[in-house]
Subunit: 368 residues, 2 copies
């Protein structure tokens, strides 16, 4: 294998595929990055932890095809520190990789690519093309509610559905639900699958090109996100997702219009004196009149009392929450004003847009 | 105690004095910040870990004098998150501190200031006035060589001397020496003392105003750095400092002119394959001719070979170093070109300016 490429592009490729390299693997080969050079297709780097795989294709001048696996951390550190932008990589039959740039010559030991695991191939039959920024936002707005409780595996991912006209992402962790819906207005194929939270986290980190698109392909067991030069493959979580539509309340006894940023700031302040997620130390909401929301917290550290302007219709109630759940939902919301729908002191609370149905965040209160 | 001040100024004061608050104290009072309000002098905040004390004086509108000790972490987090820039603080006889800003009202429990330790008073007889940026640079350029070996306490600090016209700072850790000298050209008092590394680290973080000055006062046991609104007091280390002038070689067998940044980059690359400070894995320097320095490292991870242009007079030698020591010294040097003086493969190496004597970095080689 022998090729010449740009140091900065190679460093970008390495740091991208590194996100799928296991940090605590017991197999040395999985600590590596697979480098494959072909005269026709250029150079492809791959990181794969047997659950999520990331491939990055790099423009380069390949003079000798070949492949090699090389320790991910070491090659990453070396490439970042090279003196010139032009880098020449060459491997020999003894699996030594030489990395030359300017007057620096590194030589490091690689591993045979034969024992590197194959990333599953995802057929390109079913596909949806989306804006990268839209998908990135939808991930950010739901992923925090993905459960980490391994006893309910289907909740360890985001449920992604497409009904032909709109796409929806949902995450549930038993105490809260995050739902983000987007009308696409194309003739889309119907799809539904559960994407592991970890893979989605990496997809969210890689996406972002302002005008760029990402094509999502799926098979029964795998999903592929293709941005052109980067491809991310993940296994899907098998099983039936929870019937979340049955959880979302259809009616409410109280509706409150509020600025999400004002409420977020007040609850963040309350959380400063709530050390743990101890249910004995909730943030308490009360409504002395139809225009005031009182946010109160009291622990051994001290108390916070704060009032914010709101607009309440229906029953005025007192209700206790884990501040973390409210903070996560409020941070995910970009709107200037939202509706909060309440159903008594022990019923679920839903944060929604004042118009439309772009998002629903359900939070269960702490029982009084 | 009752006063009104600016949130941003108060947050700055807290984060400054926090640097002297112990993070692992067994006395709760030492986790606190002392707040003292006086109608004539404004508000003074103090952090003190019994070795280093920092005081910050804050403009504020004091309507009721008094004092209180309050948990440092908690007040810092609360003040940073307050909604408005105007903050009102008020304490009562039960040591409750109320913090009001906009519609937020916090109430937290304080401690009596009576049990807070007193920072030693440093008489203002002996003083030197220096530029803050100069002192900050001198600290940065020597502090890395302060020893952490507690069996030789005098080496746990920087040795600061003034001979009437110039000031000098020196640090030694047994394997290397860092010396920085600056001609001041005033009529300065003669002074010498050993300042603990930890205190000096905090002084370095606080200094920085471009045009600003700092006044250094000393007594036999303590030193005070006064920037106007911030005062840092530290105990001094007692004892005789090592006779470092006897260590610095007067002659050399080899003199090499080199760009410190080119040498730094090459040795940083070599250190990528030198995992530990294992003396079996040094960076090796050799001189195939009078114009080339070869930097070589070889470990189980791989090898690096690199050449940089230099200008050698005298004997050409091969010599081995711990890369860490060279990296620290080269990073501290701001010059475009330096002289490296060598005395055989096992003799001390000194990095100096090509002209003048602003700095000397001595590094001992690894014995071959």
């Amino acid at each position: 294998m022998k090729f010449i490429c740009s140091r900065d592009r190679l460093a970008e490729a390495i740091s991208t595929v590194q996100k799928a390299v296991s940090t605590r693997s017991t197999l040395p080969i999985l600590d590596g990055i697979l480098i494959e050079a072909s005269v026709s297709d250029g150079v492809k780097l791959t990181g794969y932890d047997l659950e999520t795989g990331i491939e990055f294709t790099l423009e380069s001048d390949v003079t000798e095809p070949g492949s090699l696996v090389i320790n991910s951390r070491l090659i990453g550190e070396i490439v970042r520190k090279l003196p010139e932008d032009q880098v020449s990589l060459e491997s020999n039959a003894q699996l030594q990789l030489s990395i030359e740039s300017g007057s620096s010559v590194f030589s490091i030991k690689g591993m045979s690519s034969e024992s590197y695991p194959k990333i599953p191939v995802v057929a390109d039959e079913q596909k949806i093309t989306l804006s990268q920024t839209l998908l990135k936002d939808m991930i950010r707005q739901t992923i925090f509610a993905v459960s980490t409780d391994e006893s309910r595996p289907t909740l360890n991912g985001c449920y992604f559905t497409c009904d032909g006209f709109s796409i929806e992402m949902v995450a549930i962790d038993g105490f809260r639900l995050a739902l983000r819906k987007q009308l696409i207005g194309q003739d889309l194929p119907a799809m539904k699958f559960i994407i592991p939270g970890k893979a989605l986290h990496e997809v969210g980190r890689i996406l972002g090109g302002k005008e760029a698109e990402v094509v999502v392909y799926s098979s029964s067991n795998h999903i592929l996100f293709d941005t052109g030069n980067v491809r991310i493959v993940s296994r899907l979580i098998q099983g039936e997702y929870m019937n979340y539509k049955a959880i979302l309340p259809k009616t409410s006894n109280t509706t409150m219009l509020v600025s999400p940023s004002a409420m977020l700031n007040a609850i963040e302040r309350a959380s400063l004196i709530i050390l743990s997620e101890d249910r004995r130390c909730p943030v308490q909401l009360s409504m002395p009149d139809d225009e005031t929301l009182v946010i109160h917290a009291s622990t051994e550290l001290g108390t916070l009392h704060e009032e914010i302007p709101v607009n309440i219709t229906g029953e005025r109630i007192e209700i206790d929450f884990n501040p973390r759940y409210f903070i996560d939902a409020l941070r995910a919301i970009d709107a200037e004003e939202i509706s909060i729908l309440l159903n008594g002191s022990n019923g679920p609370c839903v944060l929604r847009p004042t118009e439309g149905e772009d998002f629903s965040y359900l939070v269960l209160p702490l029982r009084r």
